[in-house]
Subunit: 202 residues, 2 copies
């Protein structure tokens, strides 16, 4: 009966580690027989709670993360190029994601993967609504409707509430996974999470 | 010719993740044919550079880390109990370590493992010199000499310089590994480091 319970995949669209997680999480979900719910949020909301700063604003960690992202990309054989404007505040991408998600969660996942790819391989700005809509357009989505809805108060409030909900659930990083109430923080904990689900915990 | 080049294992004696790393690093070194240099330092020195705070002083991360440490202990089948006084500022332990290390690095490793065990399973205070010397006494070390030397200016200065050296090398966490100039941060990256050494990088 656990097969229906999702893995919640919390992330920020400007997170390098989330880019790698996004490339792997659906395969992991299939292997363990769990659906994956993609839950982008604004990591800045968590930083207010933890007092932390983003990796790219933190001396030493910043340089380590850049080395590490390129190392992971080579290990996995996937492209990776950090945009000059990294880290974007990816509010526009997050709002458009939830507009699509309300209609069609699978389309929202396709959009999220395309957005990550566009940001981390071609350097689009996920904080720029026009750039974000261009990604949606390639997927055949109705960008006129998205353009109007993305600046409406409703979606702004929704993204704010979802980000506050993340923090209330104990989410403070990106990627961050919750499955059956169990938290796993970081791309490098996905293997442990898979083992946890497979064994039913330990 | 790479067999002589060590894995530098940087850690703070009050770090939960370092406790788990200390239980595994020598086996890893043997598997890849590399000696391990144990390099305790004061993580607070790195925090001054990064602006970060300790896990146990950070909302949300604090609770996550406690859940995670117990989860790792159950996974590995090792004891773990967080002392009430966690996190200790482990200066006394670090100073005594380097006093022993100067004479006998292998004895210093035995001391470090015994210290971790005493702190994370029996709740001794690694910031209290008497507690630290009691651990050294069980190993048959000359605690009278250590007691005198541990409060001398020389060792205080040495530990300060080593901690500053760590930060100069880009070390900012615990555990943190450097091997052939390549940095690996965290207990959960030891498997990646082992793969890296085995392949000669990628």
């Amino acid at each position: 009966m656990t097969g229906d319970r999702p893995i919640d995949f919390w992330f920020d669209f400007a997170s390098g580690y989330a880019y790698f997680a996004a490339l792997e999480i659906e395969d992991l979900g299939r292997r363990v027989g769990r659906p994956v719910r993609w839950r982008p949020y604004t990591l800045g909301t968590a930083f207010k709670a933890t007092g932390a700063r983003g990796l790219s604003s933190t001396p030493l960690k910043r340089d380590y993360a850049r080395t590490d992202w390129h190392r992971i990309a080579r290990l996995r054989g996937v492209p990776f190029a950090l945009p000059d404007h990294h880290p974007s505040v990816a509010l526009a991408a997050t709002r458009v994601f939830y507009l699509i998600d309300t209609q069609d969660p699978e389309a929202a996942k396709r959009f999220a993967r395309a957005l990550f790819d566009a940001y981390f391989t071609r350097g689009i700005d996920s904080g720029n609504l026009e750039h974000v809509l261009a990604v949606a357009a390639v997927l055949g989505l109705d960008t006129d409707a998205l353009a109007a809805d993305a600046v409406a108060p409703d979606i702004k409030q929704k993204v704010k509430l979802i980000s506050e909900q993340a923090v209330a659930l104990g989410v403070f990083g990106s990627p961050f996974f919750l499955v059956d109430g169990e938290p796993f923080w970081g791309w490098d904990r996905m293997a442990m999470m898979e083992k946890w689900i497979g064994r039913g915990g330990w």
